[in-house]
Symmetry: C2
Subunit: 253 residues, 2 copies
Amino acid sequence: MRAHELPEIRRLPLFRDMRHASFETLMQGAYAQTFPAGLELIRQGDPADFLHIVMEGAVELYSLWSDRECTMAVVQPVGSFILAACIRDAPYLMSARTLERSRLVLLPSSDVRAVFRTDPEFAVSVIGELAGCYRAVVRHAKGLKLRTSRERIASYLLRQSRLAGEVASYILPVEKRLLASYLGMTPENLSRALKTLEADGVKIDGTRVIITDRARLTALARPDQLIDGPDPDGSTAGVSLPPANVAGLRRGA
Amino acid sequence: MRAHELPEIRRLPLFRDMRHASFETLMQGAYAQTFPAGLELIRQGDPADFLHIVMEGAVELYSLWSDRECTMAVVQPVGSFILAACIRDAPYLMSARTLERSRLVLLPSSDVRAVFRTDPEFAVSVIGELAGCYRAVVRHAKGLKLRTSRERIASYLLRQSRLAGEVASYILPVEKRLLASYLGMTPENLSRALKTLEADGVKIDGTRVIITDRARLTALARPDQLIDGPDPDGSTAGVSLPPANVAGLRRGA
DNA sequence: CGAACCCTTGACAGAAATCAACTAAGGTGG
DNA sequence: CCACCTTAGTTGATTTCTGTCAAGGGTTCG
């Protein structure tokens, strides 16, 4: 574990308010490691041995069923994931893999469970974090059930613009195939839909998004606080696609 | 509040382990009320003033967006709902309405928040409950993204059979239109799909489900612990479609 | 330089939403 | 008690959307 990492973890909403002694205890069992890109970190169905924290890089949470696969979320620094499985001491519902070279901190689940039983402040933080995760997945499910593909794409593109500060142009933070899977469609479908969206106020040039008519795009997407967020919480715990990413320049140019 | 209701609430996993004094405090601010069928209990977007507990009847959680609507879950006795919004003191992400005449207990959100800060045992229960809710929604989302309509229907029918004790025949616990919405399709689509499923080992006669070839139906549904549950938790907190329902005889005959 | 891999495009088949009409069952009010 | 009305459910015809299969261009990385 590196010197600067402990304070970073400590600043996470999940760990910010806990007692000093509890934090020490948790970190005693922690270990950090750097993984190459494309590595499977956890496999759905396995017992939840560790709470994972992404310090650098990016991790994809995805699910498998019967030779099909879909992306559920992308976790970026500094965020944790699979807290729920750790707490329930239950099998992971999702798999996780690194999207790029990534540095993770792993906390034994048993330590996490032990600590929130003795540190009420930590328990409260865990409650807040879980409630936030829950609400994020509910939003995702709402989007899937209430919106058409084009509407989901339009909403996503607008949300990314908002997260970058209402910019008119930005770089997609993830590969299109991953985005397609996250939005619940095939890459081919996304590709075609993006093309037809040029008539609705947004142009895509490679990985660059250019909003040409925000009003028109907004009319199509009809963004909704209760689907697109925010819950201006704090932590992002394996929840939605990329937060922050201020300049819109994480990948590509 | 009726005499027998307090012990029933106390038996819920969410309240089972808390201190006596805390329980008393919570129940002091509680009030119970019976509502007619079809009444809107809460509207998405409203501030989360109360934690709701279903004592009798059934409550549908649904979402609205842009003149579309979809069912997210059905809560049956004895279960709670919208815990997450209460805890975050955030707007409800879902609306709720009674499906039949229902008796509810309402706990002021502020009381809930206050109590879990002072009663570590209650905090731990809340953590468990939220983690369970989170996992349930993740399962639901996985089903929507990984399975086709027919597979979702087949899985649902099999799961209901399992919940009723591997029976070969049972009565659908909810209206078909609601089921269609829950499974992410139109009523027409469900109706047609059910017809074609007769070739795959299940026959529907009105509200009665008859599994004629379990092996065949199972081959189609490919049930998966990581989608269809269980998390043999305890509480069901507004999470999936009906639990229990032992004889499969809640509605109809 | 070659091998993957991502992305795109085209052609096609299958699935699902929509619109409309019709039936049946349940509840209401005369 | 019956006529009526409302609503769930079904079925059909049609259109739209989506997934699948296949091929080709471009890029990255070893």
